[in-house]
Symmetry: C2
Subunit: 529 residues, 2 copies
């Protein structure tokens, strides 16, 4: 009851202070109004003194994507999305901001990194911090108990950005999650398979996926004699073992977190271990761990997981690592993190350091936090670290001589002489329309790059020189030029020029579309049969 009284007093005090704050705010608003009036006056008076000075930049920690960077981004996303779809995932999207209270109490200390929107009347809003909490909110709100979905979108953290390493305040997350009550470890194994497929397809070099289980960690802390109240904080010390030596981590446990040194040493003996399924077997026989129910459950599930990973043929990419702890509080079972095994630095590349490029785990309690009745929906998922991957691919492209195209134009419609603008406009429209007409007859569901769609351009000049037109193709990587001249018009042909070989052939106008398509098709017919 003393607590109750303290609470009531606290609430009363709070009320008084809020009222004071409101008054103060009203005063501040009056002053702001005055200031804005004066600034306006100044602007008006100063308007003849030259143009206003803008700071021409994007906000701190953000960037524009140039067409070149977009080409990298699209390439990486294509690989990832194609994999998510291969595994039968649906896709959802959520707003960029959430009610402030939706995010409250989900991120622990990191909550200070959340971007709040200004209170302009109405609801209090904040930019999303990740895609997992909005996903849990979405499941609870729509009472879904069962979904396999991916979500690719930007999230926002007021962190100190290290942009050369691909760390920004606005950055993409690529999440794939399986929600639902299923037989153990089958969806978990598929998540690991997906990480393997994506990292292989992106050809980032050799990688390894560390696997552990929160229950094994908790069981280990228990048998080592860590007090229950210190599980999370000792867990976060263990999580630093990828950046700090054991000595430093032990020091943190003992000095900062007042753990008995002999307890720390017991932990040390465990977390130094990593290996394959044989380590799981060994720990199942461990005289202490095998007495702990949680650890036993975790180890049993890991054994099953390894069986499935063997069937998937990916065990050589997996290591059971007792030092893997993962920062987020919401994990409840298996956790994993993929790291590149060597800095992907070739000649001329800045080394990016070894680092995590994918991670995830099982979180069976998060959805229940949103459900009014606390109903749980078990979830397991993964997140691909695409910003880091963009950085690696971009640096690789900078270093290589490979020319990156930023458009998909197949042909430039060009004129050999003056006064042919009309003919050029007619021909380019024919090429554009051909795509539309075929598409209208075959409105397949998917068609960003239909093999029968013709991408064509012309220069926006009445009488461009032929050389200017050919140079434009060289610069932008357009492979073909359809050249019209007086003679070609008379003969009913178009001169088709290959930019690379400089060969020119007269093609009858009625065969032009097919010839261009034949020469630029991205899907050679033999691959389709």
């Amino acid at each position: 009851m003393a607590d109750r009284a303290a609470l009531e007093e606290a609430v009363r005090l709070q009320g008084e202070r809020v009222r004071g704050l409101k008054l103060q705010k009203a005063g501040a608003e009056l002053i702001e109004e005055e200031v804005s009036k004066l600034l306006k006056l100044k602007a008006e008076l100063g308007s003849d003194e030259g143009k206003q000075k803008f700071v021409l930049k994007t906000p701190k920690g953000t960037r524009d994507y140039s067409p070149r960077q977009m080409a990298v981004r699209e390439k990486v996303f294509d690989v990832i999305i194609s994999c998510f779809k291969r595994h039968g995932a649906e896709v959802i999207d959520t707003p960029v901001f959430e009610l402030k209270e939706t995010l409250t109490g989900k991120y622990g200390e990191d909550s200070k990194l959340i971007y709040d929107l200004k209170d302009q009347g109405g609801e209090l809003l904040a930019l999303r911090y990740d895609l997992t909490v909005p996903f849990a909110r979405y499941l609870a709100m729509n009472k879904l108990t069962n979904i396999k979905r991916y979500h690719i979108a930007k999230v926002y953290r007021r962190d100190n950005p290290a942009m050369t390493r691909g760390r920004y305040r606005e950055f993409y997350q690529c999440d794939f999650d399986i929600a639902g009550q299923f037989d153990p470890m089958i969806p978990d194994a598929e998540c690991l398979k997906i990480i393997c497929e994506i990292l292989s397809a992106l050809q980032l070099g050799d990688f390894l996926i560390k696997v552990n289980d929160r229950r094994i960690l908790d069981g280990m802390f228990n048998v080592c004699g860590v007090p229950d109240s210190k599980f999370r904080t000792i867990c976060s010390s263990v999580d630093k073992l990828d950046k700090m030596s054991w000595e430093d981590v032990k020091n943190e446990m003992v000095e900062e977190k007042s753990l008995a040194p002999e307890v720390a040493d017991l932990i040390g003996a465990y977390v130094k271990q990593h290996g394959g399924v044989s380590l799981v077997e060994q720990l199942l026989q461990d005289p202490k761990l095998s007495q702990n129910k949680q650890a036993l459950e975790g180890l049993g599930d890991l054994k099953l997981l390894f069986e499935y990973l063997t069937l998937f043929g990916i065990t050589e990419k997996i290591t059971f690592d007792l030092s893997l702890a993962r920062g987020l509080d919401y994990y409840t079972g298996v956790i994993y993190e993929a790291v590149l095994l060597q800095a992907p630095a070739k000649q001329g590349e800045e080394p990016l350091g070894v680092g995590s490029v994918a991670a995830g785990g099982r979180y069976d309690g998060l959805v229940g936090m949103f459900d009014p009745k606390g109903r749980k929906v078990p979830c397991v998922g993964l997140s691909i670290g695409v910003e880091r991957i963009f950085s690696i691919v971009e640096q690789r492209m900078e270093a290589s001589e490979e020319k990156v195209r930023t458009t998909e134009t197949q042909v430039l419609v060009a004129a050999a002489q003056k006064k042919l603008l009309e003919e050029r406009l007619k021909l380019v429209a024919e090429l554009w329309d051909r795509g539309i007409k075929v598409w209208m007859k075959n409105p397949g569901r998917k068609s960003p790059v239909l093999p029968w769609s013709l991408q064509a351009e012309l220069l926006y000049k009445k009488n461009p020189k032929l050389l200017t037109q050919l140079q434009y193709c060289e610069e932008t990587g357009i492979p073909l030029v359809a050249i019209i001249g007086e003679q070609e018009l008379k003969d009913g042909v178009v001169k088709l020029r290959s930019v690379a070989s400089r060969e020119e052939v007269d093609i009858r106008k009625e065969n032009l579309v097919e010839e261009i398509r034949r020469r630029t098709s991205q899907y050679p017919p033999h691959l389709l049969n």
Copy 2:
């Protein structure tokens, strides 16, 4: 010099007030800190009183996209992006927020609809209001004088949403713009061609594109006797003619904006006119308009525009409409707006009303506002009203019986008896890996739905019933089932079942991938040759 003294005094006063404001702010922060401490205390004390109550919703004016809605969104975007690419456009992206000052002074009265971020220290930020101002900032910042780009992204307006009509506070814009100094009307004509291609391909029903020119409007106001200072406000009255009668618009001009009634009548005589190129010719002969330099330039350019539109074969979709004014201040030349000609309401559909589904125009001054030296980069562009289009397509789908698939899974790997989980896992991994392996050998730049990638699923149960597995296919639209049983394993075959026809055929395991691909290919080979 009196002005100068007033300015200096104003600046001094402002300085004093800002200092006062800072003190006040520091005080307010102290109080906020106290309040937050108390709230924390309250939360801790109250933690045993049951679960916290969340309001389970998205912020006002926003929505989640379900997998079904995402299917519509992807379909619409595919058509639009494929058209932008067909015309050789690059793609860029910009951050979701900009420095507050980047947006200041660009949107007139609508500035009050901008979402500001809370001042959490550092820069003052606001969510982007459209994609045009960030584009102009991008051009000026990177000193680009020449680009053809598209940008598809969400923008934010604190408007009163009418969500059933596809109006939200968070909504997509799909912009295509051509920046650069070119020969007149060639890029402008291409923008109109693009609108025609997209609206045709989306099959939204008949449409019309109204075209006008800001210079014709200004010239008309001039010869009618509108005072220079009233051009913009009278222009915004004219803009209402699509929603209001001429009588009401005239009333607004005369009563609210103090225009002489006879001047209004002169305007009325002009803005009632619409037609094709013959109306342009007629106005070029108009005794008053033909004396106005601006109007003459606008009419001359429109005449040229119609010539190009004839070559593109789209004049029947275009109408020269003197009442089209467009709201935004920044247009400087040709302007256009596409409207659907009839409410796309079929049986069971709620009528959506006739409305604008695309718009744009020429804005030659905006980039100069960002350039420190005021250098101009002429621009012309268009914006597709996708949210409205999503609503139309969604309603049409609701009304039709057509089943929409939300995944692309081609085959479910199923078992006919118990204890075949291992065999199922092995087979599904083979199907997934086949896609990867072919892709690794042919890493084409584009590949979201490679014809040779196999999308496969299995149920996450150890021993699912065959009926359960078949029902899953019915529900999700998976067309094929690869069934494993004891006998099939012995014979080295897989039973391939068509879900629609229920036919089953034994296929040798080494031919399975090809057979599935053959049956589910989206690109029939004859269309590729």
